[in-house]
């Protein structure tokens, strides 16, 4: 393999020869291998339809929900093959945030934050729940804004607040990894900036994989960047290096706005 693979020691995730196909014929992710650094932000960039979401969703095995999707290759979480862990346990260790803010509309802000515990049938004491809710909302700098409205529905919040609530929901289990799929594409610039600041704070505690079609965002906050094109991982390296001296011609064309 002549692909530029960065050498990452003790990675939180290791992906090996990953292929994903929606129809069993065409691969939407083709032979991707990469390691993801702990406590860092790794951005996945590339034009729309290049397979960013498909790659991201392989990491918490969301594809297993759709039996027609074929996934081959291996992914390791802290050295453990994820196919040897049950989906339920795996997804508690890997949180996910979606493109459209999607708090559960029938649940209060409070219940949204502890939804993971409720869904999994954990019975916690009230003070334990209160602690988790306060801590998770504080982690996403939402506590001061909503602490007097915890029983209101999460859907009453602004888009940016809703997205931070969804991040808090993903954090409540203290996962090792947080996957975010274009989390700011539905938000205004101010809300976007808040989420970006938040991710920079969170990376001290969590390992973050961020899909973005916004190069400037990747440049602003990520430590490592992947560039994908037509399902392939074309280039992967330190964000600084990739933006200043891209190795592959396609990366350079993308970064200079020739396509995408």
């Amino acid at each position: 393999m002549d692909k530029p693979i960065v050498d990452i020691k003790d990675p939180v995730l290791r992906i090996e020869n990953l292929h994903v196909s929606y129809d069993g014929i065409k691969n939407s992710v083709t032979d991707v291998s990469a390691s993801v650094k702990k406590h860092a932000i790794t951005a996945i960039m590339g034009p729309s339809g290049c397979g960013k979401s498909t790659l991201l969703r392989a990491i918490n095995r969301m594809h297993d929900l759709y039996p027609q999707i074929k996934t081959t290759g291996k992914i390791f979480l802290n050295g453990d093959d994820i196919s040897s862990i049950s989906n339920i346990v795996l997804r508690r260790k890997i949180g996910m945030v979606f493109q459209r803010p999607n708090p559960f509309p029938t649940m209060s802000i409070y219940d949204n934050v502890i939804a993971g515990y409720k869904l999994n049938g954990f019975s916690l004491k009230k003070h334990e729940r209160d602690e988790i809710v306060e801590k998770s909302l504080t982690d996403v700098s939402l506590w001061n804004e909503v602490k007097d409205a915890l029983n209101k529905k999460g859907t009453f919040l602004s888009g940016g607040q809703q997205q931070r609530l969804c991040i808090a929901r993903a954090l409540a289990f203290q996962p090792d990894v947080i996957l975010l799929d274009e989390p700011t594409s539905a938000l205004d610039p101010i809300a976007t900036a808040k989420i970006e600041d938040l991710l920079l704070e969170l990376k001290d505690k969590y390992s973050i994989v961020l899909v973005t079609h916004n190069m400037a965002q990747a440049a602003r906050i990520s430590n490592f960047s992947m560039f994908m094109y037509l399902g392939e991982l074309v280039e992967y390296g330190r964000t600084k290096d990739m933006f200043t001296k891209p190795v592959d011609k396609r990366t350079e064309e993308y970064l200079t706005g020739k396509f995408g």
Binding site: I88, R92, G95, N102, F104, A115, G116, L119, N120, F173
Partner: protein
């Protein structure tokens, strides 16, 4: 230009006709029931006598209102678990799979069977079974007609609930899965709470259908003009008493039957409006 004007006129006239027919019907129902309400007053609604003996004629709708509500509620209770599970089967578990298309087609098929055919089935298959089980001597009554009614409204409740269940956004379900929920947990904690009001409305609409259903019920309910004393007792619904007696009725009795028709119309209209309102708010 000219043809456009003509189209507008035709459309306007057609709509006007519908409006006239509808208001004409309400007018004649109201007009026909004046005599009954004048004679018995509001008491008509809450007395259960039905005495056609000339000279001491006395009519009240309570037995039929009770019969209608009891059969319909019973039918709804029988229908609910079956329709909800079928809707989850078609709309979630086997969504977009061939098997759900087959079950969905069967459900639509049930909806297309004429009432009289259900009545025949109830009469020749279900009724003897109920006699054999010793549940009632003749096999007629609230229970028999309620079971048939339940089967008749299952398709409505199922097809509307299925649509509602399919409308729950996929990203909400995925959000729950991404938190480690199992399929059952997603269904009970996300899918059903989000579809709750729509599912509720689909059962209200099915209930509305049960209230007015006539033919099959008339064949099976046993035609007793009394408030039913048990689930296996005979009775009459508002629709079935009209069907049974209108042919030989005139004067005060006819007016009383029309008054029952008017009451049934009002109850059904209110129930349907409530169901539609909730569905509209849901989507």
């Amino acid at each position: 230009m000219k043809s456009e004007k003509l189209t507008k006129v035709i459309l306007f006239l057609s709509s006007l006709t519908i409006l006239l027919v509808a208001s004409g019907m309400i007018y004649s129902l109201a007009g026909g029931s004046v005599l009954a309400f004048k004679t018995f007053g509001i008491k008509f609604i809450y007395t259960s006598v039905w005495n056609p003996t000339e000279g001491s004629e006395n009519y009240g709708a309570l037995a039929f209102i009770a019969g209608t509500i009891i059969t319909s509620v019973f039918a709804l209770l029988v229908c609910l678990p079956l329709a909800l599970s079928t809707a989850l089967f078609i709309g979630e578990y086997y969504r977009d799979k061939p098997v759900s298309r087959i079950v969905g087609t069967m459900v639509d098929l049930l909806a297309g069977i004429p009432s009289i055919v259900y009545g025949l089935w109830g009469f020749y298959v279900l009724r003897p079974l109920i006699v054999d089980l010793g549940l009632s001597p003749q096999g007629y009554g609230i229970f028999t007609s309620g079971i048939v009614l339940a089967i008749m409204i299952i398709p409505y409740a199922t097809s509307i609930s299925t649509e509602i269940i399919k409308m729950v956004p996929n990203d909400l379900k995925e959000a729950a899965y991404s938190l480690g929920a199992t399929r059952l947990e997603v269904i009970t904690n996300v899918l059903i709470p989000n579809a709750r009001s729509g599912i509720f409305a689909s059962f209200i609409l099915a209930f509305g259908r049960a209230l007015g259903e006539t033919m099959a019920v008339t064949m099976l309910i046993g035609n007793a003009n009394v408030v039913p004393e048990s689930l296996f007792a005979t009775g009459n619904t508002m629709a079935s008493v009209i069907a049974n007696q209108f042919g030989e009725a005139d004067g005060l009795k006819l007016s009383s039957l029309i008054a029952i028709g008017l009451l049934l119309f009002i109850i059904t209209a209110l129930i349907n409006a409530a169901g539609k309102f909730i569905i509209k708010r849901f989507s």
